[in-house]
Symmetry: C2
Subunit: 333 residues, 2 copies
C-alpha cells in the first residue's frame, strides 16, 4: 500500500513557517521518507531556501498524479498570490491573502481526496484579518470550508494524548462552565477519536478540577458532586472512562500508558502538561473534519523569522503525525 | 570540609517509607556516598530489610560523634516506640506515634546542629492523628517545633524550581485569593530563597493565571489589572522578576534555564508541570526553617507497602538534594 500523500501549508510567509517547512523537508530529509506536497507561492519557498541555505528543485504540480518519487524536489501547488520576496516579521495583508489561498487550496485537495491529510505551519491572525479572511484561524477555516460542526483538538506527545473540555475562557469561569451535558457529550466523543487513532479498547481519564481532586470536598466540591457521578453513569453505560484523577498525576499516568487519553478540564491544565513534558515535540491534531489536520503548537515567531534560527522539531512531528494517522482518520469516518 | 550529616525519617512504618529508605541506602548505596543517619524504630528498619532482601548492620547511635565511616551499616537513632513488626498498609495509632516521635527527634538533632538537614519519607495523616499528634503533617510539625512563622515549599526537578502562591484551595477560589499584598510579599521571599540555594543573580518568573496570559483581557483581566502592575512596581524597586508568563511556556522556559524559578499561582499549575516532567525525580524542599527539610513528593502507597514494589527514585533525590543544599540553607539564614 502506498503511504499517504501529505499536504503541507507554510503559514504566514513573513513568519518562521516557510523556513521550518524547508528545513524539515530538505535538511531533515522528510522529503525522502514521506510523500509530501507543499501549498505555497513559489517565491515564498525560494526565499526560504535562500534563508536556510538549503538546495532543492521546485516542481510545480496541478494534480497528485504529477507527484514523482524524485525525493530531492519540493512538489509545489502554487496558489500564485505573491511573486517576490516578502519582508520578514511584519503583518502584511498580502501575506494574509497568501495564507488563506493556500490553506483553502489544501482543503480543496483534501476534500477531493487528492491528498490524505494536511500539516500546517503557523499563521498570524492579524495578517489573516488584514488580508480579508473572514475566519479567525486554521481551525475556523477548516470548519467553514468543510462544513464541519465539530472540530476537536487533541494534543499529543509520545503516548500522552490530551483533549480539552473548555479552552479560551478566564480561569475564574472554568468551574461554572463545566456541567453534566458538556462532560456527558465529551466522553464518548473522545473515546471515539482514540479508537479512530487505532487504539484498541481505549480508556479515558477525566482530570480533576481541584487540588488532590478536592480531597472529598475539602478543597472543592465539583469532583464529588458533578464529575464523579457523571463518570459513574457513563461507566454504567459501558464507556471505559475513569476518574476524576488529580491533575498532578493523571498526565504522568497517561504518559506511562495507564490511560489512552486524558480529558483535561481547562486550557492550561493540558497545555502545561504537554508543553512542559516536551515543548518542541507536542503536536496538535484537529479531529472531526473529513480528513486529519495536524499542526505545530507554536506561533510565527516574527522576531526570529527568516534568520534560520527557528526550531523545526514541532513541524517535523506534525508531518510525521499526519503521515501516521492520515488513513486511519479517513477510514474511521 | 566534611560533607553534611543528613537525618532521614522513614515516615509511616506501615507505608512504603521504610523500604524506599532501605533501598536508597543499601541497594543504591547512598550510604557509601553520603553521611546518613536514620531516625526510626529498630524493628521497623529490620522489617524493611527483610521485605527488601537487603542486608546491613544496624548501628544505634545517641550522638553524631558515634557516626563512623563504616558505610555498610545503617546508623540509627532509635526512638523506641515500636518493638516488633507492624501490619503493612493499615492506619495504626502506634505507627502515628512512631512517626511523630522520630520526626520530633530528627528536628531536635537538627536544631542542635547535630545533623545538617532532614529528608523525610511520607507519613499518613490519619495515622498521625490516631496517634494523638496535634499537627497535620510534616510541614506543620516542623513549623511548630522550630517556632517558624514561614515555611515555603519549593518543588525542584532538574533546573526547574517552582514556588506556590496559593495551595490547597478550590480552583474557583484562586482568582479571588490572589491580591497585591500576597504577590508583593512572595516575590522578594522567593528571590531570597533562590539566592540562598546558591543561584547568582536569580530571576523569578511569575506565571500567568489565564490561558495565553489573558490575551490582553480577552480571556481574563487579572494579568492586566493586577499581576503585570505588581511586577512592574517590583521591577522598579530593583527586583529581578518577570512576567506574567503564560502557564504553558513558563515552566518549559525555566527548565531550559531562562528563569531561575517560577512563582506558580495555584497548586495544580506548578504540580502538573513538575510531576508530568518527571514524576519520580520531583523533590519538595521546605524553606524558612532553621534547617533544610527535603521530602519525596508522593504518599505512603499503602496498597503496595511492604511488597518491595515501590519506586525509591524520589527518596534518593530527596536525600541527594538535602546533601547538596544543607550547608547553604544553614549559612543563608
Amino acid at each position: 500500500m502506498k503511504s499517504p500523500l501529505i499536504g503541507i501549508t507554510v503559514g504566514d510567509p513573513a513568519g518562521i513557517g516557510p523556513e521550518i517547512v524547508v528545513n524539515a523537508l530538505i535538511k531533515h530529509a522528510l522529503n525522502r521518507s514521506h510523500r509530501l506536497v507543499v501549498f505555497a507561492d513559489r517565491s515564498v519557498i525560494q526565499q526560504a531556501l535562500d534563508q536556510t541555505g538549503q538546495h532543492a528543485e521546485i516542481v510545480e504540480i496541478g494534480h497528485p498524479d504529477e507527484y514523482t518519487p524524485d525525493r530531492d524536489a519540493i512538489h509545489l501547488v502554487n496558489g500564485q498570490v505573491l511573486d517576490g520576496p516578502v519582508q520578514m516579521g511584519l503583518i502584511q495583508a498580502a501575506c494574509g491573502r497568501s495564507v488563506y489561498q493556500h490553506v483553502a487550496l489544501a482543503i480543496e485537495w483534501a476534500m477531493q481526496e487528492r491528498i490524505d491529510a494536511i500539516a500546517t505551519a503557523p499563521l498570524q491572525k492579524e495578517s489573516l484579518k488584514a488580508g480579508g479572511c473572514p475566519h479567525l484561524d486554521h481551525t475556523a477555516i477548516c470548519k467553514a470550508l468543510t462544513r464541519s460542526d465539530d472540530a476537536t483538538t487533541l494534543f499529543m506527545v509520545d503516548r500522552l494524548r490530551v483533549f480539552f473540555l473548555t479552552r479560551h475562557i478566564p480561569l475564574r469561569d472554568i468551574a461554572d462552565a463545566i456541567d453534566e451535558k458538556l462532560l456527558t457529550e465529551a466522553i464518548p466523543r473522545c473515546l471515539g477519536y482514540l479508537e479512530m487513532l487505532g487504539l484498541e479498547k481505549p480508556n479515558l481519564a477525566v482530570a480533576a478540577l481541584n487540588p488532590h481532586g478536592g480531597e472529598d470536598g475539602l478543597f472543592g466540591t465539583e469532583e464529588r458532586d458533578l464529575i464523579a457521578p457523571v463518570i459513574l453513569k457513563m461507566q454504567g453505560k459501558g464507556y471505559r472512562v475513569e476518574g476524576p484523577v488529580p491533575g498532578d498525576s493523571v498526565f504522568h499516568l497517561a504518559h506511562e500508558g495507564i490511560f489512552s487519553g486524558v480529558l483535561s478540564l481547562y486550557h492550561d491544565q493540558g497545555h502545561i502538561a504537554t508543553k512542559t513534558l516536551d515543548f518542541y515535540r507536542t503536536v496538535s491534531l484537529t479531529l472531526g473534519l473529513p480528513f486529519l489536520r495536524t499542526s505545530v503548537d507554536h506561533g510565527t515567531a516574527f522576531n526570529i523569522a527568516g534568520k534560520n534560527k527557528a526550531n523545526e522539531t514541532s513541524m517535523i512531528e506534525a508531518i510525521r503525525c499526519a503521515d501516521q494517522y492520515a488513513f486511519q482518520i479517513r477510514q474511521g469516518r
